[in-house]
Subunit: 326 residues, 4 copies
């Protein structure tokens, strides 16, 4: 479904080439100072423009259409819309008979009996994450200034040396290809006690939202998969002070599903953009044969670049929900 | 919260050393043949007994107390209870002042102001997963016989050669230590179209449940973190037949959050059991100093062994929910 | 919260004098033919214009901004917006110190610490019901043409003779007063088996939505309060045919919370419009005394007139949710 | 579904003639002193025994099986079970072919294809309300001692003179018939600001729960249906003091869906018990004809007597949910 959250409830809608994408956020406490400018910084991080990002540029101006009065949130639903301006639908019809590999094209047709909007991926477009970023901005306001997010791309194409990232991306672009990456988000100052056993562990809510973000294929907390390779004596985090700080943070700030006051550390694996410009083989449902496909349109070489702020926003939303429950 | 699911709703309760742990499952279709024997095989996989598992042995007999009439599910809530028999509460009081590293002891005290049941981890005990396994059995009945689960431990202590697993576990046991592992679950026959955009992607629901399982610290689908290291041309799965089968399955059977008819492949990183017998340093809240702690009680050397069926059950529950929504 | 429904999920937003009111509807099956014209008839029933309704007239043109492609629903969220055009905010500030009797003015200030939008009742405005009517139109499409709604005002100001309604309303208007009424909705063709025990009985879902509609203060099904005055032998409905038809319908088509195939009959008591033009006494929080208040602005004499279609829409939404669950 | 509530989540299960009926309550704050004795008073009000109630007597002893440690709630799910002891299933098979009028027998068979438990109404039995009463006791603890409930039967068989109630019930019993009644619940001390616009108004949540209670066919708040007969000048409640007290309370303590600090006043219409001892006509699905039916078993003459505490409990649950959200 297109809503998430029990208290901080985020509802999204829109299609890549429709009139708009939007988000309505319920459960926002009254009295938070908020203007359209507050969204600029995070939306800018999500925008195209840098090397490795799509040439499709949208102004991405947020229009707050409800929930604000005289500069403050009112306690009623906060709704934010983004017009779609720079759409070039061109001919997407061929994708119906000849769907793109590793895209939702074919499953969407199956699921909705061909009634889905196929233009630009329709509702599956990464453009829908605009609403997630907007909600993330509001979530961070709820969490307050004591909570700090720092989010980095720590790996691209298997390389962890950041100085080589630009080169790797450029090589992929030259090859009419794309490349994946890993995003790491660290959250400081979240405090002790967020998370609800059994099913609504902090990890569960964060992972639920992160796996909603297109292109995310793996999530780990703290030592993550590395923890599975260790012994308990190596992985256990010794508490060293009365406020729960630990000598190490292999748990990534969450034990028993509940925050323990240490930094929350989450990593998300972002697959390479499925849309690549070079020719690919895939099934043509019209001819009944595997045939070459060349995808037109404008695409990101490394979607991890723009996904970083989306990952951060998703984590902020999950934490705001948990904070409002606590 | 202790409930999960919109249609197939699983509610769990209980503490490690309380009277019972239980589960009530709502949304079970009427007319499914079900007896207490149906739970035996999966409960047996979760039971202690093998090398590397805890010496605490419970009979784990499921008592169906509602929702069955003349051998068939009735459509009203199916409730299954497991008595706690083999409890040795001993003295857990010292864990209040001197909490175990990487356990929920301290956060639980903080969150519930000391009112939580501390005996055996209380509600944080792995024993609560009995209900998850029971719900998984029912979920598999709903999915039907065409859906096959195969779940393996593919890595222990960083080693992928299965022939060495017993040795690695024994070495950890001898060292009064524990060791982590990776569980992989493969689901065949699930069909096309399960999963709901945006927030209820198949990956989101599966991950939500898996991160509820104690000790899980990472999840990946298909190529997972490896996908982040690849180029699009390497990672994309070419469709090769009219039923959506792909030449490779880097997506792990899910694209755009929706199942595409290929095998679902999920891996979960299981951290080493936090409770180890050897001495550890951790903060003593009574003395205000970091001091040595020796944990008594009976514990699993490699909790991944018993977690495998729990991981499988969680995946089955998520898929049953999605199937009933479709 | 401003969302309702598990499968057919309706999310609303907006304020009386804000930019727009809107609704996003999730869970709409793909492939339903839908255009903006489909909303005209029900929106017209809700519009002002007739005797007894407010002079504030809005064009109430529905703008579908997502979820439609080539004239059919796509399966992704259907979002419909209505611009606010004919707003005259004037000076609502005095209502903050001198709140209107039987209005939400004062409780809203208390609940949101004065941050609520006070203009025209803000989010408490009856204008928010536009979204409910729009969702009702979609709900009826889901229920299909075999399901027929007939909704009447059966009582105004205690009078049941419809020929006298116009006169009673005119008398109230002349007296600068307002008057209440009772709306009855009858639903034919709904079939057997909608409704879920225990908490999601058909009556529970319908009542939940109806008590969201401003001014509704009572709900009854079938014989309702009259049933409480009868004996069982008088109130029981004898089944007379194999399809479950009953000789009488005191149950209003619902037994044990589940539809029994007979007509669903619901009545809603609509209180007289709280805003009246004549002078009223109420507490002035600035002076600390009970003082006379004259409410300016444009108001309905008998809100039951326009509420009828809103009541019908709410019932349709509840039934669509239950149908999609079944 | 058999769960209700977002924060204070009540899950119920059981059948009239199964092993037990039970309730699990999530979201109970830690640290509430609670023992099995705390349930005695309200369970006693629900028990049979007085004139007009069924001869089936159950001990109704609550067994708390989770969520309590050393006399206090722990913050984890509180589960309470009641064994079924005094069951006489006899032959309910004839009710399958010859269903009781105004009972759920036939719709349950239709909805669950004959797999429902037919004994004693199965999951539709009033016995399921034991869990509601237990949850109500906990809800009242959460609301605190400042909140007072007073619940009365104000009408039986259309008579409002309480002195005549015993006589009316006895007459119905002698006639092998049953009789309906009206329950009124007044809640003092609830404070200002409970209730959430738009869909989760205080009235919506209360009505949702009340229409889950078997036999409830109408609900009204404050003046209720009488309000629909009045003018605004008669029905409006003038605020008379700075704490929001009103001169009259036609609103029943709720305006705009939010509590205004005055007494909450709710009335529920309880239909006469559907099971009566005298012969009734109803369709025999075996013979295909309308034929006389005599219902055996033990039944309440006036279910309103025992429903009073159930109505009160349902209201308490709704208010606890709203309080925990606020």
């Amino acid at each position: 479904m297109n809503s998430w959250g029990d208290i901080f409830r985020v509802t999204i809608w829109g299609e890549s080439h429709g009139k708009q994408v939007g988000v309505s956020i319920d459960g926002v406490p009254a009295g938070i100072a908020l203007s359209e400018e507050d969204f600029t910084a995070d939306l800018e991080r999500r925008r195209a423009g840098a090397a490795g990002t799509t040439p499709r540029k949208e102004s991405d101006i947020p229009h707050i259409v409800s929930g604000i009065y005289e500069g403050y949130t009112t306690g009623s639903p906060l709704t934010i819309e983004f017009l779609n301006e720079n759409t070039r639908s061109g001919d997407y019809k061929n994708l119906i008979s000849h769907p793109r590999p590793s895209h939702a094209d074919w499953v969407a047709q199956q699921k909705w009996q061909g009634y889905n909007d196929p233009r630009g991926g329709g509702h599956f477009s990464g453009r829908i994450t605009l609403g997630l970023v907007a909600a993330g901005v509001v979530a961070k306001k709820i969490l307050g200034q004591a909570v700090e997010f720092s989010t980095d791309i720590i790996e691209i194409g298997g390389e962890r040396n950041k100085e080589r990232f630009a080169e790797i991306i450029e090589q992929a672009r030259m090859a009419q290809d794309s490349v994946g990456g890993v995003v790491e988000c660290c959250v400081k100052g979240i405090g002790v006690g967020l998370g609800e056993p059994f099913f609504d562990s902090a990890e569960s809510l964060i992972a639920h939202l992160l796996f909603s973000v297109p292109a995310v294929k793996g999530i780990e907390f703290g030592a993550g998969f590395e923890a599975a390779r260790k012994r308990g004596s190596q992985n256990n985090d010794c508490i060293i002070s009365a406020d729960g700080k630990t000598a190490t943070n292999h748990a990534g700030g969450i034990v028993g599903g509940i925050t323990n006051g240490n930094d929350i550390v989450v990593r998300a694996a972002i697959k390479p953009t499925a849309s690549i410009s070079s020719e690919q083989q895939t099934f043509n449902f019209e001819t009944g044969a595997v045939e070459p496909l060349v995808i037109k349109g404008r695409h990101d070489v490394c979607i991890a670049l723009r996904a970083a702020v989306v990952v951060e926003s998703a984590i902020a939303i999950a934490l705001a929900e948990l904070k409002l429950r606590a």
